[in-house]
């Protein structure tokens, strides 16, 4: 995953930041417990957001523990874990497995081959437990490949492949909140896809690889057009989010959806600004 769905630290209170970190470390811990240190490597901010969202909505009790970890071996860190971190860890492995497999088939990447081979056993087990989500991931990535091959330029068509995958992953239990969660996931997924395409644009153009924004990037006001598109998606995403009865940690969730998701875009703008200034 990509890590765009992150917090905006300056606006968070200290205790909220500590709690966010505890969720993040908790997910990392769950990945390690279930899927060895290899699983830990797949940890992402995007998936931490899902843990906090589902925990807030389902008010699932959390266990607090303190552990050392490889990244911070000297100090013990607080970690929050629950049954949702287990679900999200499973989804994370499934998404990573398919992503790696795709890289291997697509670019003959060695990391892709090695990674997907190593994760294959885990994936098979997850697929048995969550066939609905795993089928959606397979279908979404196949649809993305088709878009690449046909050089699709309609951004709605391309990004919805990723949005539909996320919709299924966000729909934790297919219950009365399922529809709302699907919509949050769908629009957030579309946002992530476009943000990623925007982030990779220069490199894709240089390497002559497919990028759905390539044609549009020649327009004037390209940056503000992309921003307007992403705003439109986040507006839908948050409208659906605000209708869900989330109360616990809602400040963290809002910080991410209204501020944090723009970090990468703003950094990119800064980079462009300095390049022009030189």
């Amino acid at each position: 995953m990509f890590g765009y769905v992150n917090i905006y630290k300056p606006e968070l209170k200290m205790k909220q930041y500590d709690k966010y970190k505890a969720y993040y470390c908790g997910l990392c811990r769950t990945l390690k417990e279930k899927y060895s240190p290899l699983g830990q490597v797949t940890l992402s901010y995007d998936m931490t957001f899902l843990v906090i969202l589902l925990t807030s909505l389902y008010e699932d009790p959390v266990r607090l523990s303190r552990h050392r970890c490889i990244a911070h071996p000297t100090k013990k860190h607080p970690m929050l874990q629950n049954s949702i971190s287990e679900y999200v860890a499973d989804m994370n492995i499934a998404l990573t497995y398919y992503h790696l497999l795709d890289d291997w088939q697509d670019e003959k990447s060695i990391i892709g081959l090695t990674g997907s081979t190593l994760l294959k056993g885990y994936y098979k087990r997850i697929r048995k437990e969550y066939p609905r989500q795993c089928k959606a991931i397979e279908k979404g990535l196949k649809a993305l490949r088709d878009c690449e091959e046909s050089n699709e330029v309609n951004i709605d068509v391309v990004s919805r492949c990723f949005g539909e995958m996320m919709a299924e992953v966000f729909d934790y239990k297919e219950d009365l909140w399922g529809e709302g969660l699907r919509k949050v996931g769908f629009y957030l997924g579309k946002f992530i896809y476009i943000m990623d395409a925007y982030d990779d644009l220069e490199e894709d153009i240089k390497k002559k690889q497919y990028n759905p924004l390539a044609r549009m990037s020649r327009d004037k006001n390209f940056d503000s057009k992309v921003k307007a598109m992403m705003t439109l998606l986040l507006a839908e995403c948050t409208a659906e989010f605000e209708m869900l009865p989330c109360l616990i940690d809602v400040e963290i969730l809002r910080n991410i959806l209204y501020e944090g998701v723009w970090s990468k875009y703003l950094n990119k703008q800064k980079e462009k600004g300095t390049k022009k200034g030189q």
Binding site: Y8, P10, E11, E59, N154, I155, D156, V157, R160, G163, L176, F186, Y187, K190, N221, S224, K225, K227, A228, M229, T231, L232, L233, L234, A235, E236, T238, A239, E242, M243, P245, C246, L247, V250, R254, N255, Y258, E259, W262, L266
Partner: protein, 206 residues
């Protein structure tokens, strides 16, 4: 249908979203079917549980401004009859599909029509919103509006599509980080249309 969803949740209509959510949480815990297994009151509790659910949905939908009430009666459009008879029939089919929420079918028929009038873009925008293609929807709604600026349906559609964006940007402004007020006017490629169709009142600084 519930008459007064606020009284079901026991909150006032001026309650904040979070207060509504808190009341909803409390009541749905109280009436949750799991707490009434083998209890003679279980039917009553289930009914209450559903009522609470419905009241909550009603309030949230009202507050978040869901999309509603598109005008698909063709008599509204002045340029409408310029197409061939065959195309009139197809446009009517599109309107019917939209009214019954069959958006994919509506888009399929739209694709078969070559004469892209303002009405065509209007319908295409509505159908695209329906399936979550909101980028294309915004683009087409604006085309319809630019082709026939005097048509209240088109202006209304553009305005409705921008409602959530304004709410989102308003919320970001409140918490005041890098994504703020300066961007509100200059960044949306639709800002002009939005100001015009709202009589210039919407974003005072435009």
């Amino acid at each position: 249908m519930i008459n007064d969803p606020y009284s079901v949740l026991g909150v006032s209509p001026s309650a904040s979203n979070d207060e509504v959510k808190r009341a909803y949480r409390e009541l749905s815990r109280k009436y949750h079917p799991d707490s009434y297994v083998d209890n003679p009151l279980s039917d009553l509790a289930e009914e209450k549980f559903k009522e609470v659910q419905e009241a909550y949905d009603m309030i949230m939908k009202q507050r978040e401004g869901g999309y509603s009430s598109w005008n698909t009666s063709s008599s509204q459009s002045s340029n409408y009859s310029s197409g061939s008879g065959e195309e009139d029939v197809r446009m009517q089919a599109v309107a019917n599909y939209i009214n019954s929420r069959h958006y994919i079918e509506a888009l399929n028929v739209l694709r078969s029509i070559n004469n892209r009038t303002a009405r065509w873009y209007y319908y295409s925008a509505i159908a695209n919103v329906g399936i979550g293609n909101n980028i294309e929807a915004m683009d087409h709604a604006q085309r319809a509006y630019m082709m026939e600026p005097g048509n209240p349906d088109y202006a209304n559609l553009v305005n409705q599509l921008q409602w959530r964006t304004r709410r989102y940007q308003g919320s970001s402004v409140n918490s005041g980080s890098g994504y703020g007020m300066d961007d509100l006017c200059c960044d949306l490629w639709c800002a002009d249309t939005c100001c015009e169709c709202m009589g210039g009142d919407l974003i005072p600084c435009c």
